[in-house]
């Protein structure tokens, strides 16, 4: 059952977007986010919507996947809407009841906010849908490498991330085994009061931690045996290589941003 968890929600299909350099995809996503928040006007939402639909189409990611990405933040959306409706008090009053009052300004802000959050989530989910976690790690390491100058442990961080990715399936499998073993001994993991269930987790977590520490120690020795000596002087099998398509994607994103800013200046 635990095995069904998908990692990093990568959705491997063959598309132009999948093939883009992950570093450019990260930068493109950042520009997209800046564009969404560069003003509080209809142009931001309009451009954002066009952008998401465009990328969605090019990436061959099924529409239901994007809908799925919004599901977990649904409570946040509702909460944001209520908060904005209840507390923003500008413009004409549209509806009031006792001390509650909904104003034009409140309605507008909450609709804007909801649209913006939906676009933010669907847009940035497209990054993780179209890029494998390993490539993302590589790209982050490469983009952050200037920070090495101020002694920020960029390589170590990326190595930690990739080892975590490597061991998540192993540890999940192990958890499944331990759970089966404890159930066979009569542990009640699926029913009972909340407190009982939490207590029942302890005999699962302890062996899991013990084994994780043993694994970590063995892995460290194995890495030493394979001449690991930190990031210095290390080369990579997979080289991230920017192509014309990557620069093209960057240009398109920048164009979106510039046009939105211009429209905001002219029409407001």
């Amino acid at each position: 059952m635990l095995k069904d968890i998908t990692l990093g929600q990568y959705f491997p299909v063959d598309s132009v977007i999948h093939k883009l350099d992950p570093r450019f995809k990260i930068i493109d996503t950042l520009i997209f986010i800046v564009m969404l928040f560069s003003g509080n006007y209809i142009w931001n939402l309009l451009a954002g919507t066009i952008f998401v639909i465009l990328v969605q189409g090019l990436s061959k990611i099924p529409f239901r996947m994007s809908v799925k990405s919004i599901q977990p933040i649904f409570p946040v959306l509702v909460f944001t809407a209520i908060l904005n409706l209840a507390f923003i008090d500008t413009g004409e009053t549209l509806w009031s009841w006792k001390f509650l009052k909904i104003t034009e300004g409140g309605l507008q802000t909450s609709i804007f906010m909801i649209c913006r959050i939906i676009l933010l989530i669907t847009g940035s989910s497209l990054l993780t849908y179209t890029t494998s976690p390993i490539l993302l790690t590589d790209a982050i390491e490469s983009l952050l490498s200037p920070l090495k100058k101020i002694k920020f442990p960029v390589h170590e961080m990326a190595m930690m991330m990739s080892i975590a990715l490597r061991f998540i399936p192993t540890l999940i499998e192990e958890t499944d085994k331990i759970m089966a073993a404890q159930k066979a001994r009569g542990a009640m993991l699926d029913n009972g009061k909340l407190l009982d269930r939490v207590k029942a987790m302890i005999p699962i977590l302890i062996p899991l931690f013990v084994s994780a520490f043993r694994r970590a120690e063995e892995l460290a020795t194995a890495m030493e045996c394979r001449c690991y000596q930190g990031g210095e002087g290390r080369t990579r099998l997979r080289q991230l290589q920017a192509t014309g398509k990557d620069y093209c994607s960057l240009t398109i994103c920048l164009l979106f941003l510039i046009i939105v800013i211009l429209l905001n200046c002219i029409y407001n």
Binding site: P133, I134, S162, I163, L165, R166, P169, T170, E173, R214, R215, E218, L219, T221, A222, M223, E224, C225, R226, C227, Y228, Q229, G233, R234, T235, R236, L237, R238, Q239
Partner: protein, 290 residues
């Protein structure tokens, strides 16, 4: 040729070792906590040596000396003539003497097969095109090339262990030390790994040091070294070692089943040599007997 220094892969000279924690706990160290006691050993280049011994006898500790993970407390160990004590030799030694461990899950670093194989050459600063070539060659040598884009979690135990071996081959080592590489595998996985090891030894001339609990695997080696409580007590050909049935049993070790059969027959007065290691040999000897 025997004594030509260039033909020696690994040379231990009066090697003594104990884990530092032991000396700290007992304050003044007693003689009892030595894990390795006065080990002297020469391993020829291109040879295939098996190391036997019951649990806790110090086999893994000795193996870790052979690529400078551990350093002797007394005595020396040389890998291809380089003393493991000298810091400057460290990475050359580890590159020349690769190590494969028991649990494949705990030595695979990357989440894609080919990237894991690339790990060591990446650490050594090999240029990308050369890494690509080495990775492909290493994966072909262990017959895992078709799986290069798989995740390790999708592979069987024997396949994972072959990937671990490929990860070592990619360093282009002269010697591979395998510490119970088949202990966690099913019979099929064991066979795959043993075939791979033999092939590397015969076709590429890589020196093999195999620590194992399976006597049938040790019987494939040219030489068997037996360690008991940190002492090297036997060092001979598999036939000579296994034919000392009573001694082996007293050490808590097995011998291959066919050797045991031949030994029993020999003791019962039949004209059969107790130095029999494989099934075909045994069948031939039995046919002669009939």
């Amino acid at each position: 040729m025997e004594n030509n220094i260039n033909n020696i892969m690994i040379r231990a000279e009066h090697l003594w070792f104990r884990y530092p924690s032991d000396t700290e706990i007992s304050g003044n160290a007693t003689e009892n906590n030595w894990i390795l006691k006065d080990i002297s050993l020469k391993i020829q280049k291109g040879s295939f040596t098996a190391i036997l011994g019951h649990n806790g006898s110090g086999k893994s500790t000795l193996a870790k000396h052979m690529n400078a993970i551990l350093i002797p407390e007394k005595g020396d160990l040389f890998v291809a003539g380089m003393n493991t004590r000298e810091e400057k030799n460290l990475f050359t030694i580890r590159q020349k003497a690769g190590m494969v461990f028991q649990n494949p899950d705990n030595q695979i670093v990357a989440s894609i097969v080919e990237e894991d194989v690339a790990f060591a050459p990446e650490n050594l600063g090999v240029p990308p095109a050369e890494i690509r070539r080495r990775v492909d060659d290493a994966l072909k040598a262990v017959r895992m090339y078709e799986y290069r884009h798989h995740a390790p979690s999708q592979l069987s135990g024997g396949q994972k262990q072959r990937v671990a071996i490929a990860g070592v081959i990619a360093m282009q080592p002269d010697c591979i030390i395998l510490d119970e590489p088949t202990a966690m595998l099913d019979p099929q996985g064991r066979q795959e790994v043993m075939e791979t090891i033999l092939k590397l030894n015969r076709e590429q001339g890589i020196t093999i040091i195999l620590i194992t609990h399976y006597m049938e695997e040790a019987a494939l080696a040219e030489r068997v070294v037996v360690i008991d409580n940190g002492e090297m007590i036997l060092d001979n050909t598999p036939a000579k070692v296994f034919s000392q049935m009573e001694r082996m049993k007293a050490l808590g070790l097995d011998v291959p089943q066919v050797t045991e059969l031949a030994w029993e027959l020999n003791r019962a007065g039949f004209q059969i040599s107790p130095e029999i290691l494989t099934e075909p040999e045994c069948i031939a000897a039995l046919e002669k007997l009939l």
